[in-house]
Every structure is written in C-alpha cells, then in structure tokens.
C-alpha cells in the first residue's frame, strides 16, 4: 500500500525540477518543456488527492482533464510564437529576444 505522502513528495520533486528548467534554461522551447513538467506534477497531485481523499467525487479527475486542455492550448500558441519569432530574429534564445524590452 502506497501512502499519500509518497505521491506528494514525488510531485513536489517533479515540480521543482520543472521550475529549475523554466528559470535556468536559455532556449524558449526548453522553458516550455519545464512548464510541461510542472503541469504534470500538478496533475499527479490532483489525481492523488482525488484517490485518497474523495474517491466518490470526481472533481480531481475532471480538473486534471481541464489541465490537459489548457496545457495543449498553451503549447500550441507558445510554439507558434516561437516559430514566428524565429522567422524574424533567427533565434529563440530567451535572453536574445528583447523586442518588448522598451
């Protein structure tokens, strides 16, 4: 039998790894990958709490499905933005994209 805390510790670790990726990586697509890891950690938490605390209510799974939809939308728009930026600037390194920096 797996205690709930194992899932929570795992999700916390995955979230922090994703956070490090978002903060430290240079390439914009790598930053997006970090965001995906963070969203997955959140989803694991949602489903774990659903299973352990309220298996008769479906709220946890329903919201996990919403997170899936938002993640898909975010990736589609993000990658379209990067491709558009790449076309103009020939780079997607986050520290070289300073169009909006006054």
């Amino acid at each position: 039998m797996i205690p709930l805390s194992w899932f929570l510790v795992f999700a916390a670790a995955l979230f922090c790894i994703g956070l490090y990726g978002v903060l430290a990586r240079k390439n914009a697509i790598a930053i997006l990958m970090g965001i995906e890891l963070m969203l997955n950690a959140v989803n694991v938490n949602l489903v774990a709490f659903w299973r352990y605390r309220a298996p008769e209510m479906i709220a946890g799974q329903a919201w996990a499905v919403m997170v899936f939809a938002v993640a898909a939308a975010e990736v589609a728009v993000g990658l379209a933005l990067f491709i558009s930026i790449y076309r103009q600037r020939k780079t997607i390194a986050a520290d070289e994209i300073n169009l909006m920096k006054w």
Binding site: M1, P3, S5, V9, L14, R25, I92
Partner: protein, 173 residues
C-alpha cells in the same frame, strides 16, 4: 515492501531522472526524448491511482501530440550555435537555489501536516470512475461549463496558433 511499492519507486526514479535530464541535457532534441520518457512515467502514476482514462489521455495528448509538436518546433527552429554554447543563463545557481528552497519548503509543509500518511481508501466494487468522469463532464450540475470553456479555449488556441505562425508578407510587417 509490496510489488506496488516497488513499481512506484522504479517509476518515480525513472520519471525524476528523465526530468532532470530534460532540464540539464545540452541537445534540445535529446531533451524532448527524455521529456517523453518522463511523461510516460507520469502515466504509470495515473495507473497506480486507478485513473486509467487519464493514463491513456496522457499517452495520447502529451506524448502523441505535445511532445511530437515540440520535436517539430525544435527541428523548425534549429540553431546550431545553441547546441554548442551553454544551455543555461548566467544566473542558473539562483534558479537552482529557488528550486531547492521550494522543495525544502514543500517537504517541511508536508511533514508538519498530520494527515499526510492517509491509507488508501478502498474503492467500492460498483464504483466506476470513468463513467462518473464522463457524466460529470457533461452534467449541468457539475462541469459542463468548464468543459465547454476548455473547448472554446482549444479552438481559440488553434486559430491563434495558425494566425501567429502564418508567414506574413514583408509590407504587412
């Protein structure tokens, strides 16, 4: 130590190891492949948590669509200098510090919470989470409005992505 616990530990080790490779590996394409492995590990956790539908959705949406989309984007925005130079900012120790501090804080929070070692409640044999989920997503008393909003969001993202990535003529700017 039961079989389930061993499966959990192996899956957690694989997932976290792959996640660390995603954020540290130099070649972006390799990072995408590690990301796929990490997402696969998360699908194992959904199976362990009796959320079979989410496990399948994880395979189809994340690995089948999102990861492949990322690989396409990496190939379209290939920048050879990027694979050679450093892949992280100058301030990466700060990022590492923030991540470790957050992890420590979360663990401290968990350890101070008395309910954390809850045992798994037994699911009644007639409970059917998949049917419940399907009904809840279209029931007016439950999640039909978020569900419809999600579909509108996806449509807007689809149109927005096409518009943003459409090659513009020079004069239009």
């Amino acid at each position: 130590m039961t079989t389930v616990q061993i499966i959990f530990i192996v899956a957690a080790a694989v997932t976290l190891g792959a996640a660390i490779m995603v954020v540290t590996t130099r070649k972006l394409l390799h990072a995408a492949v590690w990301l796929i492995l990490s997402l696969l590990g998360v699908a194992v956790f959904y199976v362990l948590l009796n959320a079979g539908f989410l496990a399948v959705a994880q395979l189809v949406i994340y690995i089948g669509a999102i990861a492949i989309l990322m690989i396409f984007a990496i190939m379209l925005t290939r920048h050879l200098a990027l694979d050679i130079g450093p892949q992280v900012h100058r301030g990466w120790p700060w990022a590492l510090l923030i991540a470790i501090l957050l992890f420590g804080g979360l663990i401290w929070l968990l350890s101070s919470w008395s309910d954390v070692s809850t045992e798994l409640p037994v699911m009644s044999s007639r409970a059917d989470p998949l049917t419940d989920l399907g009904v809840a997503l279209v029931s007016p008393n439950a999640y039909v409005i978020p569900f419809e909003l999600a579909s509108i969001l996806l449509l807007a993202a689809l149109i927005g992505a096409i518009y943003v990535a459409w090659p513009k003529k020079e004069k239009e700017g």
